[in-house]
Symmetry: C2
Subunit: 323 residues, 2 copies
């Protein structure tokens, strides 16, 4: 029910996903609205179910308060359905903090996990790089970062099929001893987890596949993502404004259209659909607020891949052993 786009767009995505993956989808929200919207689409009755939820947590609401007060919000109902086994995975394109809070309240953490983390997977020309935490935990201790490494690498190994994922530590210098107190202490903590540790990684190398998983505190990770987004946006603005001003540039841009499409795809945070919330003991995915129907389809795909790979079970084992 939440997110930046209207429910109709999200529902259209669910219908597309049902056909693409031959799977069933459960939609949680305003029953009348959802049923009415579903009438416009073709699918078999057993493929789409609706679980009613009478409340909505808006994009700007304070997560903790909203989740306590709105027990019948779609995100709360969804997480309860997940806990009770009515659904196998849950995804929301709504308020990220509310999804995190609802997942913690209604589903709970994997045993031993101190703090679940939000992840993002970035497409580099050489391959995928997962970064976590990107905003769930603004203040961290080295142990959290060690767990992020274990959770992220286990996900990348089983879902992306990377045999031996390499871990990098988000930092502002390459050598050991660089960075703030947390980064320095976390450097040593990384030797306590079982995946190969390549050392510090500076964010100017984020888009070069130097490692498979980058770990850092959620404040830093969030800054990195938003800075990259800001730069991409500025470049697009500069190109658009210049192109508008001259016919020569317009013709050039038309000829180069394919290049700009590739650029947009590669800098699009929606490209892999929703990102897994790692450390929750059932699959919860957080979508971008601007998720459209295509993003919903990708999200259902990501969720299915995670389920088929039994990644939550693998993460539970890894944390029990090394967490």
């Amino acid at each position: 029910m939440s997110g930046d786009l209207p429910p109709a767009e999200l529902i259209r995505g669910c219908v597309l996903a049902v056909h693409k993956f031959k799977t069933n989808v459960v939609i949680i929200g305003d029953e009348a609205l959802v049923q009415n919207e579903l009438k416009k689409h073709t699918f078999r009755d057993e493929q789409i179910h609706v679980i009613p939820a009478t409340e909505i947590i808006g994009m700007d609401e304070a997560p903790a308060t909203a989740c306590r007060q709105k027990k019948d919000a779609s995100v709360m109902v969804g997480c309860r359905a997940l806990r009770e086994g009515l659904i196998d995975g849950f995804m929301s394109p709504g308020n990220t903090g509310a999804t995190l809070t609802a997942a913690l309240m209604e589903v709970g953490r994997i045993k031993g996990v101190k703090r679940p983390a939000l992840s993002i997977t970035v497409a580099t020309p050489q391959g995928k790089v997962m970064m976590l935490d990107i905003g769930a935990n603004a203040d961290c201790i080295p142990l959290y970062l060690r767990q992020f490494a274990i959770l992220g690498a286990t996900y990348v190994k089983h879902v992306y099929g990377v045999a031996n994922p390499r871990i990098g530590l988000l930092n502002i210098g390459e050598e050991e001893g660089k960075g703030n107190e947390l980064a320095q202490a976390s450097f040593h903590e990384m030797s306590k987890q079982p995946f190969p540790f390549i050392g510090n990684i500076e964010p100017n190398y984020l888009f070069e596949h130097r490692c498979d998983v980058i770990v850092g505190d959620g404040f830093s990770g969030n800054l990195v993502i938003k800075s990259a987004e800001g730069m991409a946006k500025m470049i697009v603005t500069i190109i658009k404004e210049r192109v508008k001003k001259s016919l020569k540039n317009k013709v050039g841009a038309l000829l180069m259209q394919e290049v700009f499409v590739a650029m947009k795809q590669n800098t699009n945070p929606n490209q892999y659909g929703a990102a897994p919330l790692l450390g929750i003991h059932k699959p919860v995915y957080v979508g971008h607020g601007s998720s459209n129907a295509d993003a919903i389809v990708s999200s259902v795909g990501a969720c299915l891949r995670g389920l088929q790979a039994q990644v939550t079970e693998h993460m539970t084992e890894a944390i029990a052993k090394y967490g």
Copy 2:
């Protein structure tokens, strides 16, 4: 003597600066090498002086150790010349940490300044934004950030001519109460400085001129700069690789050349020459390692503007009053 490019390129920049600004320049380094290089250029004898320095601190040397051991390194000699009044301002395109250390050891801080900060000025389509600290202080307390605000705003006011510079606090959310412990505590600290505080600023808005000065700890600031740089580099890579592959794209790129030049200029960290090291009690500027002759010219210009505006004196007063 340091930096990524050979001394010949930097010396060429000095000669260009002498002609452009009708000012004198003092070059510090290997006397024989510098004099030999200067023979290739035309200028009046009194315009360029050389102060000999027999040692060099390389780009990868640990700053503290190198500055202690190499008392005759060009950066150390330069900072001593500044202290002794032989020169009015000092700029180095070499090892940033060494410049910071040498400035602290040989020149010293403005009275009352706890930590000098490295700044960067970003060109947005709407105007200049200064961000600090971008790497001198990985761990900060709110008081440092308050001082960064005072130093940055005073610089922007007197050198860039912004009448009433607005301060923003680097953070991962807009509302008060967002962010890590430092950001939350610094939000309140900002009321203790005299410039208008617009609140938190997320780095996706870095390039939108929502304020004139953005303050944050040096770890965060450095991550932001390097993330933006990484994204810009990836976009350029994508464009170049696609263009290579098709004649149609090549023709398009040729027609759009002016657009790409503008894009390069706007994302070029060298565009304003060296960045001031704020909080040192005489003018010290830090250049990008890749500074070329043009960057040296811009740096001399930046230094002259700072001197003409008596910005160090203004910062000393502002810190005495509000620091």
